[in-house]
């Protein structure tokens, strides 16, 4: 392990050359992929790592005594260690593999609900959460007669911190705080560390939805001080169907299992089952071994670059897009927080986001339109949906210019 190894200099052309899909044409035009907040594209190294598993070491993990099973297990556990190092967890067994952020948060809500929630308790979330960080908590609250409280969102798309602090300080009933590190719709980077510190003073268990953070920020779970941290692989250059729930060892030990099945047991009799040790207690069934190996490779790929330089590049794209889009008549940006990742959500007077998305697609540009799985946030801003461009390290300023020109053309057609 050489974490201090020399990082490759950031050269967007060199990065682009590693993404085979960027050579594709859409409607005869070069693909401009600005839907990275939904899922990012994958570098060749990740695609190769995933297919090499199938081609050379495909076997089930942890059970076989044969060579392939040993190799597959070693490869999967190496990925776990890579992730541990990347997010600075204390132990590899604090890294639980799931199918994605949604599964991670469902695990968290189901298990923490059972462990902690009683009638009239409260779970605190924020008004900018993705449905995946709302609905599992609603289900848990319904199950135990607890209540969901919501941190309001300011006009710029940030948490109203004075209200957040009072919701934490004034309520002895608050047992769980579950908030996003970065908003998928607005791009806002939330002050999670500060809020977690407040919550922990009062013994509140803290859960962070890091789906939009992991590819763009340095995530250090010990520095954040959170109890649980969820993220997906596929938004961070990794295969789909992979995800992680990090949890503090002491809490994970106390949490009851979510799904039962193979892998997660110690001893099974019809009278009583005892569970496997961490992390396997939470990993019932055969995991997405190939995907996990790809996830490990993607993290190592990201670590080969200076994340700061990647973030600076994405920030440049955000600033350029913001400045240029605002020259379009009637265009309004939803989410103008000071601290943002490369996500830009906007509405245009007299233009429906579906029409705009369709006409951008005709010009080879992939953006997301609609409510982005944040309907309460849309209601907060009084819009039915937005058009969202979300950048990754392989995007370029030239692509931003193509999108702005294409948007101008679409608006002309639609007015």
């Amino acid at each position: 392990m050489t974490p201090a190894a020399v990082k490759s200099a950031f050269d967007v052309a060199e990065i682009r050359a590693q993404f085979p899909i960027l050579k594709e044409l859409v409607h005869g035009k070069p693909l401009v992929y600005f839907d990275n907040a939904a899922t990012s594209q994958k570098p060749r190294r990740v695609i190769k790592a995933e297919s090499a598993y199938y081609a050379t070491i495909n076997a089930n993990v942890h059970r076989g005594v044969h060579t392939l099973s040993t190799k597959a297990t070693e490869a999967q556990e190496a990925a776990r260690e890579t992730i541990r190092r990347h997010i600075n967890a204390k132990h590899a067994h604090e890294v639980i593999f799931t199918s994605g952020t949604t599964a991670s948060l469902n695990l968290a809500a189901f298990s923490l609900g059972q462990l902690l929630l009683k009638k009239d308790d409260e779970v605190l979330i924020s008004g900018m959460e993705h449905h995946a960080n709302i609905v599992p908590w609603q289900l848990a609250c319904e199950r135990y007669g607890a209540r969901l409280r919501v941190i309001p969102i300011t006009p710029s798309g940030e948490w109203d911190l004075s209200i957040a602090d009072s919701l934490i300080a004034d309520s002895a009933a608050c047992k769980i705080l579950a908030v996003s590190h970065v908003s998928n719709t607005l791009g806002t980077i939330n002050p999670v560390k500060e809020l977690i510190a407040e919550a922990r003073k009062r013994g509140i268990i803290t859960v962070v939805d890091g789906a939009q953070a992991i590819a763009h920020l340095n995530v250090d779970v010990q520095d954040l001080g959170c109890d649980l941290y969820a993220f997906s692989g596929h938004k961070a250059y990794s295969p789909t169907g992979t995800g992680v729930l990090y949890g503090r060892e002491e809490l994970l030990e106390r949490m009851p299992p979510w799904q039962g099945g193979g892998e997660m047991i110690d001893m099974v009799t019809f009278e009583k089952t005892t569970y496997a040790k961490l992390p396997f207690k939470f990993e019932a069934g055969t995991p997405h071994i190939a995907g996990i190996i790809g996830l490990g490779e993607a993290i190592r790929w990201m670590e080969d670059y200076d994340k700061q330089a990647m973030a600076a590049h994405e920030h440049k794209l955000l600033e350029h897009a913001t400045k240029e889009l605002l020259t379009i008549d009637g265009l309004r940006i939803i989410g103008t927080a000071k601290e943002k990742v490369g996500v830009i959500s906007f509405v245009i007077d007299g233009v429906h986001h579906y029409d705009l998305g369709t006409l951008l697609d005709q010009q080879g540009i992939a953006v997301r339109t609609g409510h982005h799985c944040t309907q309460p946030l849309m209601q907060r801003f009084g819009v039915s949906g937005t058009t969202r461009a979300s950048f990754a390290c392989f995007n370029t300023v030239e692509e931003v210019e193509v999108m702005v020109a294409a948007t101008r053309k679409a608006v002309k057609m639609l007015r």
């Binding site: 409607h27 429906h352 986001h353 579906y354 029409d355 998305g357 369709t358 006409l359 697609d361 005709q362 010009q363 339109t369 609609g370 039915s384 949906g385 053309k409 057609m413 639609l414």
Partner: protein
């Protein structure tokens, strides 16, 4: 004009356009000819599920035919529903149920038929066919 002839007419109309821009501009133009749904029928019950934009579709039996009116808050969607209404309007339930939707493919709008949840074209066709089934079961009304 038969239903098949109307479909052919649309195929011929769209065949004149070689680039996407003209094709979509024509689709948007078609939306302007859509027989608009009466405001009192613009209810949640008449919303077509499965569209990212909102589409209202209303059907009334007229003798043995079905008369459709519709609207949408998005222009392309409005054009698409107008296209369908032009083909299916004032036809018998049997004509509607027996109609092929292959013409969509032939006018270059196949992408709108994909199972992607954002696209509502399949949902609109299903809804029109459901009206046809309902009205054919009821029989012609006076």
């Amino acid at each position: 004009m038969t239903l098949a002839q109307t479909q052919q007419e649309l195929i011929d109309e769209f065949a004149m356009f070689t680039d996407w821009q003209d094709r979509y501009e024509h689709l948007i133009e078609l939306g302007k000819d859509l027989p608009l749904i009466a405001p009192e029928h613009k209810t949640d019950d008449n919303l077509v599920r499965g569209c990212q934009s909102r589409v209202w579709l209303h059907a009334t039996p007229q003798n043995d035919h079905i008369h459709f009116t519709a609207d949408s808050d998005a222009m392309i969607t409005k054009g698409i529903v107008a296209l369908l209404v032009r083909v299916f309007n004032d036809r018998t339930p049997q004509e509607i149920l027996g109609a092929s939707t292959e013409f969509i493919d032939r006018i270059g709008l196949r992408a709108h038929l994909s199972p992607n949840r954002a696209n509502g074209l399949s949902a609109m066709i299903d809804q029109m066919k459901r009206y046809a089934v309902a009205f054919s079961a009821q029989g012609p009304k006076a």
